[in-house]
Amino acid sequence: MAAQAVARVLPHDGRPGVGALLWRMVHRRRVIGVGLVVLAAVALAALFAPLLSPYDPASLDVPARLHGPAWSHPFGTDEFGRDILSRTLFGARLSLTVGLAVTASATAAGIVVGLVCGTNPRADRVLMRVMDGIMAFPDILLAIALMASLGPSARNVILALSFVYTPRVARVVRGAVLVIAAQEYVDAARAVGASAARILARHVLVNSASPVIVQATFITAYAMLGEAALSFLGVGIPPQIPTWGGIISQGQVYLRQAPWISIFPGAAIVLSVLSLNLLGDGLRDFLDPRLRYT
């Protein structure tokens, strides 16, 4: 009852609804629209992979092996006659899942670390050195080393990449908290007796959302590239499961006879990452015009 009443009242609160906000965003920065459309296409392809795939991604058809792109197999087949289009569609599931899971956990962990650092100078000195230390490793090399210890699996890829990308979020949150905590409206909130927890949740966190959202978009892109690289190198998701990096690595052996095995899943990576970067750039320009690359 109460929730419904609130929902009815909110749009008249002077705040734009989600639809209106989205429309304004796309209108102001057209790249946001382009990014969103391509991403939606990739997400739908992943979601409906079983319906869209012309073949079972694992079904073998040895007579049709290393078949070039044709009507029956638009992306061609691999050395076991498996359909590359179907495998690429199913690969989208893994790639997106890893990208989103890494973003969610790295962002959550980064917000916690960033809030602690931004509000507690003592913890800040220690934790930020730790974050700097983690950022001194090349992303992919640290992820490879972690995978060596954790063992190859989708869950461990998510764990390793989340660890690698947490400091990036933590830095952004810490920076935003330090700026916002010095604002007058925070003093005002404190003056009227708001608790520290309320100030953090209602003022600091809400106002630092923009840079975090932008960073999260880029982290999804990094994580998808990272997963592809790990699986390509054979230390990521086991090769039985179709992933974009895994299919490319498999095609490496047949580069002469069947270049299409590697070409198509790679194009899928480029398309997804490109749309995420467009989205991130557009959001940054839209949410904070001062940061814009002039």
């Binding site: 490793f137 090399l141 490496q252």
Partner: protein, 313 residues
């Protein structure tokens, strides 16, 4: 100056300590007993216990860490479990191709990044600018390993102009070496050029907004002279920072690229060590690369003194 240098060196210590702790913990986050993992499932219990004792795994963690760090500081990174030779020697043997590839890759990234960034800034908001930024965007989205494979398909398989894989050190003839390095260097350089394009552009735009640029134009200098003699020289200083920061991406990219082109470098060493579960080698490589990153970025900051006399701390 000297005070600043000493301060910076001291600030490095906690970061390097964190690096060391992370590297040390790599072996200890393995599910189960590292000694068991190292020996495999067939090993008998006494064998496992003996290795655990040899590796010092039966001692408390802080003791293990101190001993390990002490040895690492003396250049002793342990012994490879697979090749049975000192890890430091293993790394040195594989360093050549990686360093050569990184230098060539950085060269490609700068050769693309600076001119494209300059064009983009000079013709700001034109279609050339849009095109340059689109190129930067595309470059950042292309995985280096896929670009590498595509280059192999085009230039090695279809056209047959260049070898598809392998390595010849520059010592065995520059021309021969370059033939093997061109494709890997492009595969590594293109994704890394996008940050340089963007940095060059914004740095040059900053400089072009200065009064002395207006003065130069007012006294009648041609556009080209203003850009190259006055603006670019000043704009290049911040780009140094990007070169330092690119080092991490460059090393990471090199690790992946080497595996595409079968270059016998650090990247091949580390990936084959992961597959063999040769932890001391992995630890050694990761420790060395992270330390190099920290030191190189300090060196880049110090280079500012040499390049820009206005910088004083």
């Amino acid at each position: 100056m000297l005070g600043y240098l000493i301060g910076r060196l001291f600030a490095l210590l906690p970061v390097l300590l964190v690096v060391a702790v992370v590297v040390f913990m790599l072996v200890h986050v393995t599910p189960g007993d590292p000694a068991r993992v190292l020996l495999g499932q067939d090993a008998t219990e006494p064998q496992v216990a003996a290795l655990r004792h040899d590796l010092g795994l039966d001692r408390p963690l802080p003791v293990q860490f101190t001993l390990w760090l002490g040895r690492a500081l003396h250049g002793d990174l342990g012994t490879s479990l697979f090749l049975r030779m000192p890890v430091s020697r293993d790394i040195v043997q594989h360093l050549g191709p990686t360093v050569t590839l990184s230098v060539f890759g950085l060269g490609v990234a700068l050769l693309i990044g600076i001119p494209v960034g300059v064009v983009s800034a000079v013709f700001r908001n034109s279609w050339l600018d849009q095109l340059s930024l689109a190129l930067a965007m595309l470059g950042a989205a292309v995985p280096s390993f896929w670009l590498g494979l595509s280059l192999i398909i085009l230039f090695a398989v279809d056209l047959g102009w260049l070898p598809s894989s392998g390595y010849q050190s520059p010592a065995s003839g520059l021309w021969l070496s370059a033939q093997y390095l061109v494709l890997p260097a492009i595969a590594l350089g293109v994704p890394n050029s996008s940050l340089i394009i963007r940095f060059t552009r914004s740095s040059l735009l900053d400089v072009l907004g200065n009064d002395y640029i207006r003065t130069a134009r007012a006294k009648g200098l041609r556009g080209r002279a203003v850009v190259f003699r006055h603006a670019l020289r000043n704009a290049l200083v911040p780009i140094l920072t990007v070169v330092g920061l690119t080092f991490a991406a460059l090393m990471g990219g090199a690790v992946v690229t080497e595996n595409v082109f079968s270059l016998p470098g650090i990247g091949q060493l580390v990936v084959s060590s992961v597959l063999r579960r040769d932890y001391p080698v992995i630890q050694g490589v990761v420790l060395m690369v992270a330390t190099a990153y920290v030191v190189i970025n300090l060196a880049v900051d110090l280079l500012y003194f040499a390049v820009d006399p206005r910088v004083r701390y």
